[in-house]
Symmetry: C2
Subunit: 145 residues, 2 copies
DNA sequence: GTTGAAAAGTGAACTCG
DNA sequence: CGAGTTCACTTTTCAAC
């Protein structure tokens, strides 16, 4: 993963459907050379795939929340991941430092839908309680850099 | 935005570089019809664009944190956004319910880099103090659904 | 990096409810 | 008319050199 790979990744972050010709032109490579680099990045796992960036409000899921999860005793991260994966409203989850065991990023159509999803999260036997913060307005949403 | 549009979006969430032929095959349309729908979704703003999904660890920014921001007095969300946008390590930001005014999602190469970025965030005159939680391990990272 | 065959993208003309 | 289809034509992909 060198400087050119980085610049290729930058191109793809801006436009995931850029043609290999365009990518090559921006980094000073021919289209096949650019494609070979992208293929290599995919094979190595650095590039997981490609996706569409949606306007969250444009299709329903306008209600977001961040939820701190407090567990009973010691729960392995693996167990926690497996149970949280079953709740599609959980967009992101991570174990964190501090008093809470994990922090979840959740999204739902509305408050009612969010509440239902949080009940499903709390169904897990190891979860003691949760503390949630509702998102009022999103200021920044950068895909990743 | 009807049922077919939803299914097209699902295809693109799974593979943002899917060909119009593939998309059409999955939703029962010809390639040009699929393309016209995707073009329409882009024009309407429902689709913002396309991007690459990276393995976060594969290129450097392995250190993540969630930062609660407490402001002095009343700060407009617009002002806050404008100053936070100047810090590239801020991947996401939103105003929230509860004691804090905003919650930031930040990423950096390492703890030292993160500390520098947080200093830049705190440079803003309206920010009183911050409380941060370091991410230990990421359990789930769904692009969005 | 270059080449060339196969595949995908894309606009136009056409058809159906 | 809006939405789909087929058809021609251009551009891109991609494997071989």
């Amino acid at each position: 993963m060198d400087v050119i790979d980085r610049r290729i990744v930058d191109c793809l972050l801006r436009d995931g459907r850029a043609t290999y010709g365009d990518i090559g032109a921006q980094v000073g490579l021919s289209a096949p050379a650019a494609k070979r680099r992208v293929d290599r990045l995919r094979a190595s796992g650095a590039i997981r795939g490609f996706t569409v960036v949606l306007d969250p409000s444009a299709l329903g899921w306008t209600t977001e929340a961040y939820v701190e999860v407090y567990c009973r005793g010691n729960v392995s991260p693996r167990q926690l991941r497996e149970s949280l994966e079953r709740v599609p409203e959980v967009l992101g989850a991570c174990t964190v430092s501090g008093a809470a065991d994990a922090l979840l990023h959740m999204a739902a159509r509305d408050i009612e839908h969010l509440e239902q999803a949080m009940e499903r999260v709390r169904d897990h036997p190891d979860i003691d309680h949760t503390e949630s913060v509702i998102v009022l307005s999103r200021l920044i949403d950068r895909p990743r850099s």
